[in-house]
């Protein structure tokens, strides 16, 4: 019970983590993927795992479940992240995180690296992407390791 209450609090309170003001890079989409790293460098899988697990940074486990056993409360609005690295290429995973609506126009998954087309964004988040380019790369690096 107590744990659930704390979780609800985390969902509701949200973080005050400031991301950089605007995407400095324009991701190059080729078919259904973004083949090149947004930063020109590979991400860090360990940092990516922490972002995915975090209820206030990645928010992924609000909707997804995944092989992150220390997080007991996970979502079931979306498929498990387990095996994502076998199902999708690195470039496809990058596009999925940057802007999943390019793959499925009706997706409920937020676009983590897009600022256009949003309505009534809270002032402290306005003009900011959910993740920075470097954080997107960390998440991609982690997802690639999720093999069946």
């Amino acid at each position: 019970m107590r744990v659930l209450v704390l979780l609800a609090l985390a969902f509701v309170a949200g973080p005050a983590v400031a991301q950089q003001p605007a995407p400095p890079v324009v991701p190059q989409i080729v078919d259904d993927s973004i083949p090149r790293s947004l930063t020109g460098r590979p991400g860090d899988a360990a940092r990516g795992r922490a972002i995915v697990a975090s209820r206030s940074v990645g928010l992924c486990l609000l909707c997804h479940s995944g092989p992150i056993t220390e997080e007991r409360f996970q979502g079931d609005l979306a498929p498990s992240l387990a095996g994502a690295g076998s199902r999708w290429s690195e470039g496809q995973l990058r596009l999925r995180i940057v802007d999943g609506s390019r793959l499925n126009a009706d997706t409920i998954m937020p676009a983590y690296y897009r600022i256009e087309g949003l309505h009534r964004v809270a002032r402290n988040f306005e003009g900011r992407t959910i993740l920075t380019a470097a954080q997107v790369e960390d998440v991609v690096a982690y997802l690639v390791t999720l093999r069946d």
Binding site: M1, L4, V5, L7, A8, L9, F11, V12, A13, G14, R55, L59, L61, L62, C63, R72, F73, Q74, G75, D76, L77, I108, P110, A111, G117, L118, H119, R120, V121, A122, R123, F125, R128, I130
Partner: protein, 258 residues
């Protein structure tokens, strides 16, 4: 063989009409049904429900004369169990002489300013919530019954539009969670259908009594959308739509929620 086919055919017809009847059945669930047994018990037991303390406080305020008119609610409305029965089940409504709907708290503040000649109480003020929970408690177990008033249609429509708008940095709508994904788990929390059956509620996370507006603000902040100030008409529009959607469900005030 043909007899056998006939039996199978008949069985299929019955199955189909049974399924059709089920679709017509009311499957709506109050947030109460999505809570654990311990919280349900807390809500049901008036000696354990923290909201009942505020109902008691509201009862005291009901009888207290205030303002330049030196009148109490009871001076004009008498016994709340009689005069206020069913009122919360049909709010928000448009007060006489106005063309905009008010919620129950707004109605109580009108009586303070117009009839008691007192200052309006600010949103989420303890006395305002206590009066609202006292009035709404008089409708406990009654069905939500929005009034027939064509003047409300435009406001309900506005509420429905807000409900369906994808908004905030997370680009989600109320409908995505509360219609399309109700009953599923958001990080371990069951998403309720968002029926306003128990307001004002005692929410454990707040350790306090709070209004529907406060609850709606929590959802807006969760999706990183700009929350309107607590006295904004958008909340009244949303409540009108939610009450219409919950028509026929029973009021539980004061509800307990996690």
């Amino acid at each position: 063989m043909t007899a056998r086919l006939l039996v199978i055919g008949l069985a299929l017809v019955f199955a189909a009409s049974y399924a059709a009847a089920q679709v017509g059945a009311d499957k709506r669930r109050s947030g109460y049904q999505d809570m654990g047994e311990a919280l349900q018990k807390m809500q049901d037991d008036d000696t354990a429900n923290p909201g009942m303390l505020f109902v008691q406080l509201g009862g005291q305020l009901w009888n207290r004369a205030v303002g330049a008119a030196d009148k109490s609610c009871a001076d004009c409305h008498g016994d709340a169990a009689v005069s206020m029965k069913g009122v919360a089940a049909r709010y928000p409504a448009i007060p006489q002489g106005s063309d905009r709907p008010v919620d129950l708290e707004g109605r109580i503040n009108l009586c303070r300013t117009e009839h008691q000649k007192a200052e309006p109480l600010p949103p989420e003020n303890r006395d305002l919530l206590a009066l609202a929970v006292y009035v709404a408690h008089q409708s406990r177990d009654l069905q939500i019954a929005p009034p027939y008033d064509p003047r409300l249609d435009a406001f309900r429509r506005e509420g429905a539009e807000i409900y369906r708008l994808r908004q905030g940095q997370l680009n989600l709508s109320c409908a995505i969670c509360h219609d399309d994904n109700a009953g599923k788990k958001l990080a371990g929390i069951v998403i309720p259908e968002a029926h306003p059956t128990g307001y004002p509620i005692y929410r454990l996370e707040w350790q306090a009594l709070g209004s529907l507006k406060r609850r709606l603000r929590n959802c807006l902040v969760g999706i990183r959308a700009e929350a309107w100030p607590l006295d904004a008409p958008e909340y009244v529009a949303l409540e009108l739509y939610l009450m219409q959607r919950a028509r026929g469900l029973k009021l539980e005030t004061p509800a307990v929620r996690p």
